[in-house]
């Protein structure tokens, strides 16, 4: 069951993390989230993963982190014997071309500039061969007759 696989989010800005998770949840994404504020804490978690291919659905990396950069984590991930199989999407508040190029060269599947919209993010994940399992759109989202759509930015 894919829904049991976790989405790892490494993002130092709490607000961005909250918005990201909130909007994906609202969109119907039902994967559990693993949120880390630093690269070090993320690696502590990664090191416990014996079979990440079975436990991790997606890794989302912010470029600017307090102790490291998303690029550095990506470099380590792409060299890791098992973690390199997990799809990675980069997040950044800037669309710096050098960062985009480096990320894609290092094997990131996509580079998303904040604020991005929930709907396209899910589409992107499908496109890159990492479809997120969605709950049927219901509940709070449809209460106001205003389903989560791509007008909504998230962090």
């Amino acid at each position: 069951m894919t829904a049991s696989k976790a989405i790892v989010l490494i993002e130092d800005d709490e607000g961005h993390a909250v918005l990201f998770m909130k909007l994906l949840r609202r969109r119907g994404v039902n994967h559990p989230f693993q949120h880390f504020v630093t690269g070090a804490s993320a690696w502590t978690f990664f090191d416990t993963q014996t079979a990440p291919g079975e436990t991790l659905q997606l890794i989302v990396l912010d470029i600017n982190l307090p102790d490291t950069t998303g690029i550095e984590i990506l470099t380590r991930l792409s060299a890791h014997p098992t973690l390199q199989a997990v799809p990675v999407v980069m997040l950044s508040s800037s669309d710096d071309l050098d960062d985009v190029r480096t990320s894609l060269e290092l094997g990131a599947l996509h580079y998303v500039t904040k604020p991005v919209l929930a709907h396209p993010f899910c589409d992107i994940c499908s496109d890159i061969g990492c479809p997120l399992s969605l709950k049927p759109l219901a509940g709070s989202d449809s209460v106001h007759g205003q389903p989560a759509d791509d007008r909504e930015p998230w962090a």
Binding site: K22, S94, H144, Q146, E152, P153, A155
Partner: protein
Amino acid sequence: MPSRASHDRPLGRDGKASILTASDAGMGDRAAPMDGRWEIGLSALVLTGLIVAMTLVIVLGAQSRRDLAQLREAEQVKFLATDFLMRQRTAESSQRGYLVTGNPRYLRGYNAVRTSLPLALTRLEAATSKEPAQAARLARIRSLFDLKRHDMFAAIEKEGADNRPQARSTIISESGFVQMVRIEKEIENVIEFENRIVSNTRTDYELTYFVSISVLVGILSLGVVTFFRIGKFVRSYNEYRSALTDSNRRLTSLVHARTAEIARVNEEIQRYGYIVGHDLRGPLINIIGFTSELQRAEAALEHQLLALKATAPASLDQDFVLAVEQDIPEAIRFIEASTHKMDRLIAAVLKLSREGRRSVVPEPINISAMIEDLVACHAQQIAASRCGVTIGTLPDLISDRLAVELVFGNLIENAVKYLDPHRPGRIEIVGRTEGDRNVYEVIDNGRGIAPADGERVFELFRRAGEPTVAGEGVGLAYVRNAIYRLDGTVTLESAQGIGTRFIISLPARLDAVEQPGLIAA
């Protein structure tokens, strides 16, 4: 990062001015100008001395030639005079012997010189004709000679005719003797005169010789002086050259150091702009995101309010209704407008910073083609504003294509954007070459810029006049930034209600090496 930037000031960290002075280069303490004047004076002196010496040598040479000729002439005259006298004596004694003895054998001498004697006199006359005093003497000698010859001849004739007593009377009368003495006296005078000439000429010649030797010694000493001066000159030239090499090396390293420093500071400023833009955006994204959350919550509230209005309108507090229906949506609207504007401004700063970090790559650019493309990009607005665009003959350029495109793109966009809606627009792009620079002008008949706004339009986020046209106030800041990076200048002339003229001056051939900011970019 900012604290580091303010700590390491780009130039003059050592407290010195950034201008390179002569003492920086180690050339300061040589009294070169004074030396130079001396050198020139001395060289002029040596040259004058040489010219004088040469003239003297020529004059003295001519003088000694003249002296030699004179000496030879004098000796010739003396020889001729002596020769004449000897012959005369031979004739005289031969004639006297004959007259005394009557023996014709004695006439042999007389006969021997009879024809050569007048010739000898003629030769002497010719040799002395130039000297009036000698010529006068010769005239006297000639008359004495004529007389003497006549007497001698007459006496010999008489002796030959056996008129001995009469012939002897000639000898006895002593007139022949007196004539002979007088001739001898005159000849002595002639020789004496020539001796005086010889003696004078000798003195002259010795003087000439002495002067010649002096001149030679002079030339030699000038040569020695010049030799030492050349030696000294070569030494000081070598010293100057090594000093120059040293100072060049120092200058080069100074330039390298400062270029590196400028590059570092430049990079820091660009990085600073990048970080500011980047880090400002983090909080902004939260505000945008959570405002959107608030909007969603507000929608829920409004939904609830509608339901309550339908079911229990009496229970509703008026303030609650006002807050949900007006205050909250208004606040959210303003927050949204502001955050979106801020996002655009930050994006502009980022773009500017990114443009500054980009390497400048000079390449040949067909400006006319580029302008035509850019005008085509704005064809729709141009048509909408009934605007005529004229493109003059534009000189081609070797520069950074993207930067030049950004410059002209923004200027043309500006011209189109700020046309006066009340009259037909006219935009003109002209160009010309000025030395090694190309000058382009983008001229419009738009609303113009107030004199007070002048240069401020080039500042980031500054906009002139009434903000009736959408924009962030970044276009001209991009233009100026790009122009500076291309080693160019941009100025504007404008009159409100008449139009604006942007004047761009760019190097016709941009040299990539001259861009210090690029080393780290």
